[in-house]
Symmetry: C2
Subunit: 433 residues, 2 copies
């Protein structure tokens, strides 16, 4: 299934790309013409992999190769190239459920760990749109549909348990990137670590989080949920940098972190990045009126996203007529039992919500105090001003982890955000908020 | 890793056995002498596999082969022979943690799915001892030590998560026997199913359980926990028929149901069989005084078992000094955090207890209303008398599932048992008990 990564793996350069593609007749035919007609571009902007776009007379393609190290860190941080195998396995597993919400996969090279897929154009990365203040009202709906379908259909609610067991056997091998999540999301932000990129003005917040035992207890619960709650197949890295958009289309890319885990993880990750966009907005150069207008849209997006997710997830479940072990039809056939099944479905979704809010908070914290910072904050040039925006997000995330009962529904989550705006660089005053 | 089960697999007969063993020089040497000196015996008394004991001048061996079907059901119920591979993988994974609490594995034949292991003698099956009224005070202590070591050391509390992920990848393949657990433990007892072996006097109880939506909701929670809570490597079938004993030694055998699952599952299974022995005791032919004496010992065994488990599990955890992702040392280094870590450990064990009690109840119900009945009840010749004993166990199990808050500690569990004694064949009157 997997070739030995050391066999004849070579890093593909922009110069090598045409010859490589010419060697794949079906792929070359999609581009049309010959190598001389192809325009190739290196568009890698993520942390991990090489990504090229290629245009030919007949069409365009995206070529992604896993490098044997973390791209932004270099060879000092080795990383298993098999992540490309897991990315493509995830994409293929999702395809029947999410349809056109993800790019089509055209080819996987199991020796070179290269994925050739549909080129998304004129799609842009959602994060850039959020930073530019360009609103995309389809996104929360489409991403809700994506996660609802994925988290229902790959769970034990939608199939005999053997289906998830097969996914489990496969994706349990994706330890390279799961190690990144365990370390960068759940561990490093709460200790002194050379990889953390905390700025000087946030030193007080970082120190406070390292010393906050209530917070670390809550994060332990989240980490254990990530490690032990084998609910469904997750994307594992579903933030605004893994979503490409136009005014009318939404595409989820980059499932290389895929794992069987708690369904709330992807949900929380998506919400977290809308929350951070909301906290960053006043510092993106538009005036107060535009800030207020765009923030209202973001807040509404979060509400719409969760409500749509809940409705779609429940609709999949209610409409499901196949064999499944989670809630076997044979146990819930008569009318009284059918009514109870509905109660149980709602309770299941309520549990997903609680998990999602918990993971949302963890994802915010790791993006501020950890290694992988995000452009939403980084585009704010002044370090102190940036730290003000980040501190507000941290204060909010801390409150969510310490007082989950206050965040019992999505309206409460959204309504609470403004309370943390003025949190400031001293972490103490807002700890009870 | 696994040979194709269809390649040159052959069912080993008693007659073939000497020649087979003679072909394994190291094994033959353990027996001493030659084939003519070996005394072979078929001792299969379980539901699934062939088991032979062989004695030679130098020593004895136990030879177990997985059949391509369920032994007691015959070829109409096919069953993947690879279960022997999982049994031996489980035994090898446990060996460093449980030492002499399990028989030594001498050989695994991956083509014939034959395990050659230490012959336990004069050990008898714990279930027979319980039925005979022979008390074995080491058993609860030894089994507690076994489960504590297994469930701690194979969890994310005791290792980087990659270790459990490797177990997960492997044991996710053991779907043949996990299917048995899903069906026979969590599903069939609550529906009409041809495999269920409900006796006529228990028809009312079976019907009541099929109609009890509160009960089926609780069982759904248990089933989902079994399917999704990937805490540690479980034995998966740890009842009194999987334990062999002498007055001074305890051995756990038969880990073919192994899976990564909720640690409370093995705990609950073990307790369930002491509870059923307790309910069956008055009908095993000894007088009231002997019944009372033996029941007191069983009740004390249950208390000792849980208390020992708790103490040992916590001791492993407190003493653990290696790297682990569940509760990373770096988060709990200073004295305040160290104190909190202790609180978290206790809360973790409290969760294990809640799970254990839930699984205990499920295991009792499946042994009364399902396919795999147990000798503790079956030795009671009169069907109505037997049903009285079983009904009491069912009433107790139902109460545990419907009212978990009443069973918050092990003393409450043990103290409640006598309340269900007179439950009788009408399921209605004791439903609120
Ligand atoms: N199918 C595609 N069509 C067009 N552009 C794409 C496509 N896939 C990726 N890109 C571009 O390449 C960039 C990097 O892609 P991707 O996020 O998959 O890489 P990565 O190295 O895995 O990043 P990360 O650090 O988020 O893991 C994207 O931000 C996007 O601009
Ligand atoms: N190592 C051993 N030494 C001596 N006797 C053994 C040994 N292993 C098993 N036996 C005997 O063989 C019987 C069947 O063994 P075992 O429970 O492993 O078989 P099984 O077919 O898997 O049963 P089950 O239906 O419980 O799954 C035991 O009850 C015991 O009497
Ligand atoms: Mg990526
Ligand atoms: Mg067995």
């Amino acid at each position: 299934m997997l070739d030995n990564p050391n066999s004849d793996y070579r890093i593909l350069t922009l110069a090598d790309l045409p010859a490589y593609l010419a060697g794949l007749p079906d792929i070359a035919a999609m581009l049309g013409g010959g190598t001389a007609d192809w325009r190739c571009e290196d568009v890698a902007d993520g942390n991990l992999n090489s990504v090229f776009l290629v245009d030919g007379p007949a069409g365009g393609l995206c070529v992604k190769q896993a490098l044997p190290y973390v791209r932004v860190a270099g060879e000092s941080w080795p990383m298993d190239v098999r992540r490309a195998f897991f990315e493509v396995s995830y994409a293929r597993r999702m395809a029947p459920f999410v349809g056109s919400l993800a790019p089509a996969i055209h080819h996987f090279d199991a020796a070179q760990f290269i994925i050739v897929m549909e080129k998304l154009a004129p799609h842009i990365i959602l994060r850039s749109a959020l930073i530019a203040g360009a609103h995309h009202p389809r996104v929360p709906v489409d991403v809700a549909d994506y996660i609802a379908a994925a988290s229902f259909h790959t769970s034990d609610l939608a199939a005999p348990f053997e289906t998830k067991a097969a996914d489990q056997a496969l994706f349990a091998g994706n330890i390279g990137l799961q190690r990144i999540s365990v370390d960068l999301v759940f561990t490093d932000p709460y200790v002194i670590h050379e990889r953390n990129r905390v700025t000087v003005p946030l030193a007080g917040w970082a120190a406070a989080f390292r010393a906050d035992i209530d917070l670390k207890e809550a994060v332990t619960r989240a980490r254990l949920a990530y490690l032990t709650h084998a609910q469904s197949l997750l994307h594992g890295d579903l933030h605004s940098g893994s979503i490409m958009v136009t005014a009318t289309e939404t595409r989820v890319i980059d499932g290389e972190f895929a794992l069987i885990g708690p369904s709330g993880f992807d949900i929380g990750n998506f919400i977290a990045h809308y929350v951070m966009a909301w906290f960053a907005k006043p510092f993106h150069g538009s005036g107060p009126a535009e800030t207020a207008r765009f923030r209202d849209l973001l807040a509404a997006d979060i509400l719409v996203f969760w409500q749509r997710f809940e409705a779609q997830f429940l609709a999949h479940w209610r409409g499901f007529a196949g064999a499944a072990d989670g809630l076997p039809a044979s146990h819930f056939a008569d009318p009284v039992a059918a009514a109870r099944a509905e109660t149980m479905r709602r309770s299941y979704v309520a549990d997903l919500f609680r998990d999602a809010v918990m993971f949302m908070a963890c994802k915010i914290i790791r993006r501020v105090l950890g290694f992988a910072q995000i452009a939403d904050f980084l585009v704010i040039p002044d370090e102190v001003v940036r730290a003000q925006a980040q501190a507000a997000a941290l204060a909010f995330a801390r409150s969510v982890l310490l007082h989950p009962a206050r965040y019992g529904d999505i309206a409460a989550v959204v309504a609470a955000m403004p309370r943390f705006e003025g949190a400031g660089l001293d972490p103490a005053p807002t700890r009870l908020l």
